[in-house]
Amino acid sequence: MAAPVLERVAAGPGGRRARRRPGARRRDHLIGWLLVAPALVYFLVFLLYPALSALYYSFTDWNLRTEASWVGLANYADLLFDDVKYPHFWKSVGVTLQYTLVAVPLTLVSALVQALLLNAIRRGANVFRLLLFLPVVTAEAAVGAIWRWLYDPQYGLINTLLGLVGIPGQNWLNTPELVIPALAFIAAWQCGISMIIYLAGLKGIPGAIQEAAIIDGAGPWQRFWRVTFPMLRPTTFYLLVTGVIAALQVFGLVYVIFSGNGRSVTGGPEQSGLTYVLHLYLFAFRYDAMGAACAMSFILLVFIVIVTALQFRFVKQEAA
């Protein structure tokens, strides 16, 4: 829709395509460059330059204070194979994969259910949309404090609710096996952005298709699985790819959950919440190994590229 309008405007009043002199063309180019300049400068200064310097530092031994000394691939080799220097590297990989596998599907389901409910109600949709979106705009420190209370083994609301249906209370954030599910549940609660995107996807499904399905005698369940869900496939794919990338980089959530009472963050009970980026952060800023931390960030980058490429290859993305 937008492109023809722009073309018409560019072509000048009356829609007449004027034959232009070469100078005008160059001026157009200049204006184009000027228009993208802010984004380009931002990209070069704040994304590309730091990324390239991080790549350089990943081949060095550097503690932030002294000159970096070149060590070649030593950081990479040590991270992958030396469990004396990096005893918890593979643990952090495992924790992060586990978190991603639990949190991403949970978030997608939660977002889709919320979007379907919002799409179905006629009155008060705005109010509910606002309420469901609140967790996203809440300060992370507050989210951490609230959920530590909710998961409290003595007074926590979650244990109280479980008690009503006869399930014994758990020590959620201090039992290694329960830490990942507990964290993933918080992530699913914070699914507001995915929910909005799903909602937009739902609005984009033509009413005629749904009506045709109704006329053909499809029930609500069939309509969801045969019409709505397949039509949402591009949306789901987008949310899956971005969700996996975000989950592999989870940091803020574990940081605020396990940093209460002025305690140093070492990743929860038995490192069960030591996610990859938290581990990276500790080496960068607590253990004085910025070079190794940069190497960790590049290993993560390569991993994310591979995982994303696999998703593009093997996950259906077109609406059907």
Binding site: F46, R65, T66, P87, I245, F285, R286, Y287, M290
Partner: protein, 405 residues
């Protein structure tokens, strides 16, 4: 491919990249030789801020033409910000430095040695001054010192235990009387628990490493017994109770280990809690940990003489009593008068007399977090014995540090 991918990938890189070039902005003093920048932790209370402000003004009065610019940074972000500032060559003239960082910063020349004749070392508490040493040389001045001690709920524990045996008995009695109350909030196998652990080890006459910093000693009987003590205490102190929010303050745990910084907070938020503070129970000799704030001058400073003068001014006999109190600890200058505190102050001061500095090993934080903390946790969760956990941890520490003993 997708924009999300590229963006995501770049963000991953930024986790380190941006941080490395961020920070900054706090340094200065280069152009005007009379301005001094000093970094410190954010004020604990508004009153503490006023005390520091008064000392600042006194210093400026005594040194006409000099301006001291105080930059206050939340404690949690401090080390990160300082590291970034040093990396981007915008470190302040002087600043507070976490005790275990002094030896690291000294070894790579980030901070300067204390000039001869600045202070008389005999005027300072030895333990506090020693936290500023690296390779036998002095690289900073302490500004306050602190320690942890035993907090006990007077309703549940009428007289505080003095020895480990008494501690176990008291904890067991409390829990037996009410199954919903834990005897003690036993430290965990995290960075904080591992930090407290050496104080307990010293209480059994042991050490974490030898004085020369060449031998790992925390697989020896004193350390094993200390860890076993914590494991034994768990029987009368279930985690299900003590993992609740503020268990000691809420009366769910009869005893806990904490420092003077917690006293005003508890008094303010839990005025009904009747509690006392006593020195840590010990096995063979009274002992504890030392903590607190050191202050250093950065090598990049253009005003080093002035910076040292300011650090010495804050820690002198006249000012250190108030400064140390504002920072949340006790004076480091022997002649400085500690600000009179509540009845619990005596216990902390007594504890400080027998407090031991942390091992001056540059990689100690990493050993503390990555090796000792998990070892403590595996013994406390019952996955291994105390001896096995510490034997493994000691072996890992030896390989990491390249020590033979």
């Amino acid at each position: 491919m997708s924009r999300g991918l590229v963006r995501g990938a770049v963000v991953a890189v930024l986790a380190t990249g941006l941080a490395a070039c961020g920070g900054g902005g706090g340094g200065g003093g280069q152009g005007d030789s009379k301005e001094l920048t000093f970094w410190m932790y954010q004020d604990r209370t508004p009153q503490a801020g006023q005390v520091i402000e008064k000392v600042r003004q006194d210093f400026e009065k005594a040194n006409p033409g000099v301006t001291v610019k105080l930059v206050k940074i939340p404690k949690d972000d401090y080390n990160t910000k300082l590291g970034s500032a040093v990396a981007s060559k915008s470190a302040p003239d002087a600043g507070i430095l976490d005790q275990p960082l002094v030896s690291k910063y000294a070894l790579d020349g980030t901070i300067k040695e204390v000039p001869a004749g600045l202070i008389s070392e005999a005027d300072y508490y030895k333990g506090a001054l020693d936290t500023n040493r690296a390779g036998g040389k002095l690289y900073g001045l302490p500004q306050d010192q602190t320690t942890v001690a035993l907090f006990y709920n007077k309703k549940l524990v009428p007289t505080p235990p003095k020895t480990w045996d008494e501690l176990k008995q008291v904890a067991a009695r409390v829990h037996a009387a009410d199954a919903n109350v834990a005897g003690m909030n036993v430290p965990k196998g995290d960075g904080y628990g591992a930090w407290m652990f050496p104080g307990i080890v010293h209480g059994a006459g042991g050490e974490m490493v030898d004085d020369e910093g060449k031998k790992v000693l925390f697989d020896q009987p004193p350390a094993v017994e200390a860890l076993q003590l914590w494991a034994d205490l768990l029987k009368s102190s279930p985690r299900k109770i003590t993992d609740s929010d503020k268990p000691f303050e809420n009366g769910m745990a009869a005893m806990t280990i904490s420092g003077p910084w917690d006293v005003p907070t508890i008094r303010e938020q839990f005025p009904d809690l009747d509690f006392g503070v006593a020195p840590l129970p010990y096995k063979s000799e009274p002992a504890g940990n030392i903590g607190g704030e050191d202050s250093v001058v950065f090598s990049t400073s253009q005003n080093q003489d002035l910076a040292w003068k300011w650090l010495a001014f804050m820690s002198n006999a006249a000012n250190n009593g108030a400064v140390a109190d504002a920072l949340g600890g006790f004076p480091v200058h022997l002649k400085a008068q500690a600000v009179a505190g509540g009845p619990e102050q005596a216990a902390f001061l007594e504890q400080l007399k027998v407090a031991h500095a942390r091992p001056a090993v540059p990689q100690w934080i990493q050993v503390n977090d990555e090796i000792i903390a998990p070892a403590i946790e595996s013994a406390l969760s019952g996955k291994t014995t105390a001896q096995q956990a510490l034997t493994d941890a000691a072996a890992k520490t030896r390989s990491l540090l390249g020590w033979n003993g």
